[in-house]
Symmetry: D2
Subunit: 309 residues, 4 copies
């Protein structure tokens, strides 16, 4: 029976060295974190691996926008499955608006009166959301009507990405680098409200079946599939269920604060997905319990440092 080893910190050590020491612990949090860093590094290195990330929770407004965009830019991510909120926040910033540092103890009635909407301790201005409406309408007008009558969200987001100017934009970078962004719940967001009001005056059909067809096709395009799950929700489920046709993903890491015992899918361990054919084997799987906005940048840095060796 192997025994637990202990982490030895040296002041000049890289985060990669620390992650390797953690993997050697083999148990509890350090074992899981170290394994996640290694799986992520292997995934990044593997050019025969189609790499998906699922995004739920305030990753884009919460400081990770450039982290994700840079990984797309460097071809470490091929498919992004995201909530509508993360798309909304990317477009808001691409249009020049900023997210504001606030407080989780703020009086929401007062915030409402001041035109500020809250996500835990950050604020979005109602002003920027109104500006988003006009910009969305203008961008939609530029899409040929024939196309607008039957698009997947990934096609819509490519169109928007092509019209945005900000080099830090996830949508723009994905468009340029040929990565696909899927947003299965695009209407369930501020951007989505603007799509809906537009659709009442102009032809616009977002067809989720087109998304699913493209997503399933992508799972067949390379030898292997790897998935990075940040938060849970529909993005997590969508990317995994699309892989059932090919027999499941080959590798996956998830970072979540949701717990498994309630039975919800967000907190479910990746092993459970094996029984559904969404994951192939228990080998390259790991759940790291924690806040993805903290842990993913650290894991990504460790994985990038693996690419240099």
């Amino acid at each position: 029976m192997p025994s637990v080893s202990h982490i030895k910190i040296k002041d000049r050590m890289s985060i990669l060295s620390l992650a390797e020491q953690m993997e050697a612990v083999k148990v509890l949090g350090p074992g899981r974190f170290g394994k996640a860093a290694r799986i992520l590094g292997d995934m990044f290195r593997d050019t025969n691996c189609m790499k998906f990330v699922s995004l739920a929770g305030p990753l884009i407004p919460g400081g990770l926008r450039t982290v994700i965009t840079d990984l797309v830019q460097r071809k470490y991510l091929d498919g992004i499955v995201t909530t509508g909120a993360n798309v909304t926040h990317d477009v808001l910033e691409a249009l020049g608006h900023r997210h504001i540092v606030g407080s989780e103890n703020a009086d929401d009635v007062k915030l409402r009166k001041r035109g500020l909407s809250r996500i835990y301790d950050l604020y979005v201005t109602q002003h920027s959301i109104e500006a988003l409406e006009k910009a969305t309408y203008r961008m939609l007008d530029h899409i040929p009507e024939s196309k607008r009558r039957n698009m997947g969200s990934f096609e819509l987001l490519h169109e928007l990405g092509g019209q945005l100017k900000d080099n830090n934009s996830l949508l723009r970078t994905a468009k340029i680098r040929g990565a696909a962004i899927f947003c299965p719940g695009i209407f369930d967001s501020m951007l989505g409200l603007h799509l809906w009001t537009y659709s009442r005056l102009h032809p616009l059909v977002i067809n989720p079946l087109r998304d699913f067809t493209r997503l399933v096709d992508m799972t067949y395009e390379r030898k292997r599939v790897g998935v990075i799950i940040l938060g849970g929700g529909m993005p997590k489920h969508q990317v995994l269920i699309a892989n059932t046709y090919r027999g499941g993903v080959d590798a996956a890491i998830q970072i979540t604060l949701d717990r498994p015992d309630g039975g919800g899918f967000s907190g479910a361990p990746l092993e459970e997905a094996i029984s559904w054919g969404k994951v192939k084997t228990p080998k390259n799987l790991v759940t790291v319990v924690g806040d993805a906005t903290v842990l993913f940048p650290v894991l990504a840095l460790a994985a990038l440092q693996q690419q240099r060796t």
Copy 2:
């Protein structure tokens, strides 16, 4: 400053009496639980209130199917916004299949080989999911093609509900009682996979914009809107965002194990929704921290007992 009072249990007391004692505590868990029971009772009593429930997590397979169905049957619920999984599990049972008692420590590789798919400690047979495919196709064939070319999920689910025979079915009961079931992520489920494969051979377009239009319309049909949020995810967000046009909901309770500090919407307090215009005032709002599959039946019983007084 009011002081905390203490719960006094008497052996013959009803759950309603206990909930009233809890509300009198005014703080911590008992205060929140007691307030939730009172808000729910008020909501049920108010015939001028449009009542929505959002369902995320394994409520239907996890023993609450009849609880929800009976509330629809008795006109205590007008709109249901749910994950695709809960719809899938309702249809599976309506077709005569059963969910199986299992173990959360099962070996998922072995379960896969035995044709069992796992949700924490309950199993679904692959056999039943295959049978679902045939039944889904048959039911879709019965829907006129002209209709199939542009439906909201609520229209599709009414059609399916009309074809199911099981009186305990949520879909059937909703159809009969005129309640609407919205499933913003219907493709993100086993039923959804069958819709997708069908759509590749036959005309079928599920248009989420139709859903959102109907959902928004419903928010205007009565003087007040009340929302019961069981779990988080897109169902929670969808029902709240649809209410922004009317200035927010009037009352809401949520039961969740998700925590707020990660910033995700599932665990966000209802007060935060005030800053987005999704909720009107902080008055009739409460978050109960806990497992909805445990707490909702207890709260529902307390609320029903209020209707008799």
Copy 3:
């Protein structure tokens, strides 16, 4: 393979009937809650069972003081293992002070200036804590010095209980009914600070070895041992480890919001305790995920209703 059954609510049903329906679900939260109600009912009924409860978290100040006291009064609890805080709050109320309804969003700097100390959304007055000091000194003075030189916490708390007048007091009721209260971390509380300052001027030794000896002796006094674990911490561990000498407890329920994956003992499943010899078999064990201040009163009511049948 048994299948999941569904809960059927009837307006007039008792909480016991609902709990029985939940046990029949057999899976997820309802299965765990229903099983806990049944184990608790069996425990209460069994006069050959020594019944312990462990208390961590704000149970006494948070509205459950009378719930616990009444169970002691009715001989359903023989041993209480608790944090110092719960003892402190019992004595505060016994001296006529009240806990105040507050807010979790209060400004703690302002509260400090106003002489209010906060536990989530309830307050304690500094005034009452100062009054506690005088009362504690007075009560200690009444204990013979020879006794004071070597007491277990259970002996000290019997002495205090004998001097308090409040019939709702846990300490007084335990004294009268012969139940023992163990407080392994008694110094780690406001009452403990007063014990410490007293000890600097007067003879006072609280000897934890005496506590442990008495606790272990109690585990041998009846055929069976049952444990109710409310919250985690040292109270949970102390009561379980004391039972290793007799080969483990026979039945246990725990209610906790702590999660297992961090590896801490508070969130650890009861099954893990089998490997340590703290629990005998997996038969009569269940963990209910949730807030003990909400769930315990409900479970206790269901268990009491079982005694009448």
Copy 4:
């Protein structure tokens, strides 16, 4: 109003640079993590600051033994307040025993038969616990009887530390470097059981009042006090309450997976402690939501890298 900035990863960047980028985000998880790294770095640098760490949960067996020991060796930690379990595991390893890599899904009945005791996914052998008994007795025999009749846990642990040979031992290193280890619940552990059985045959009194006196004295010995809280429980409370006499600590970070809404002290925000006089101001306080076994090594590395600049 300041705006949220985004993290920019560069492959060669140090964990310190990443932590600085996170602090600049200012909100959500990254803001909290970055602030914690900065507070920890400031604390380490400040020679006029008395530095305490509280340990709850499986830090020593879970791979962080050397991390903690090295910080003591380098004088970055002056006082350690810990559960009995962490002391037990340090002594076990110092005696040459190892912790074993296991599985959280193991059958605990079988483990029991095989003489293995489980902490989530790591095992301890019963053999090593029996060997601990003999070694403990032997070490106790070497302590002069007069001393044994009235010791604080910090004195006992200094004695044991002086007798252990392992340079990686926390107890030995603390003894050599003059750091104090307080264990307010020392009897509540396997080591504690051996102390208890010893005490039934030989004179041994562990007097918690001596511990508290020494702990309070330490809080006065330097201009400032800083506290690192890993996990919650009594170690967290003990170190904070001891600082009330001097008006509260000057700086504190805590890493925890426990949530605040249950009202328990383990998950309580540090701000709440201001209202109790345990913390001075809200300035240098931060709670990082997460698993301390993962996050503390990363934060410690970032803080150590700050010492070099």
